[in-house]
């Protein structure tokens, strides 16, 4: 590889990563808009928001926070491992990340099933009979955690693709932009949850 090629690839990596960051900015504003709606409605219906948030299971929320934070660590470590030319360790760490993501989704399934059984789901009669503020809270709750769960799912797909490429050696210490960007996406999923968790589960 000539000196020129090395230079070109360096620029590609920089721009590739910058592109990912810009995409993440749009994602921040997507969720930021929802947080703003939450803030305004909460301001107008604080009593109802308190009552509704009390219905959520703090334990499940806390466990999911632990799962996501830990999975962020394992992804960051996996990227370091690839940089250090240790694909075997990277492979194992991505597997652990995917397991943690699965635990998160399983928790979400248990949580939502429980709510659906109690008649709390978008458009349900139970919800329609609730005070207006509680209806707004649960609407935002399902919208925000649902959109977040969709992001977790997309992140899992990206990590699975990276996992296969790590196994095949297509992702290695010289070429790992896809994996690095998948990692950035995964951290964004974590960032959003860091705000969702206290606002929906804790501030009752």
């Amino acid at each position: 590889m000539s000196k020129h090629d090395v230079h070109m690839e360096h620029i590609d990596r920089d721009t590739g990563k910058l592109g990912m960051w810009i995409f993440l900015f749009t994602e921040m504003f997507l969720f930021g808009g929802l947080f703003l709606v939450y803030a305004v409605f909460r301001n107008g219906h604080s009593e109802d928001f308190h009552a509704a948030a009390d219905d959520l299971n703090t334990f499940i929320g806390t466990m999911n926070t632990v799962f996501l934070l830990t999975s962020s660590l394992t992804v960051a470590m996996a990227i370091s491992a690839v940089q250090k030319n240790d694909n075997v360790l990277a492979f194992r760490l991505v597997i652990i990340t995917l397991l943690l993501a699965t635990l998160f989704m399983a928790d979400k399934y248990i949580e939502w099933s429980h709510e659906f059984r109690s008649g709390i789901y978008p458009g349900s009669q139970v919800l329609k009979n609730m005070p207006h503020g509680e209806l707004l809270f649960f609407g935002l709750y399902f919208m925000m955690t649902g959109l977040h769960a969709l992001h977790v799912f997309i992140g899992m797909i990206l990590l699975t693709v990276s996992l296969i490429k790590i196994r095949k050696g297509n992702i290695n210490y010289e070429h790992y932009l896809l994996f690095e960007n998948s990692g950035l996406y995964w951290h964004l999923v974590d960032l959003i949850w860091i705000f969702l968790f206290p606002l929906l589960y804790l501030v009752t």
Partner: protein, 94 residues
Amino acid sequence: MKNTDTHGSGYAVYAIVLVVLLVLTTLSVVITSVHLGAFTVGFALLIAVIKVGAVISFFMHLRSENRFLKLAVAGVFTLYGLVVVITFIDYLFR
């Protein structure tokens, strides 16, 4: 960019960051279980901001990125802050 491969990639640093994040999570659960009224939201958000800062700086390596990206991230958060403030000015004083 030049630093990303060497600095900030130590496993031990990452592990310490995770411990800090988990301690902060516990702290926010404990603090919000005590009813402090309006302060509860403030504390919870403050802890969330610190956690987000830690994830962006260490796990996302912003700490060792170039100045342009750091400014861009700071700019985006400032812009969002302005959007929130302007919305509330409109909402509260209409």
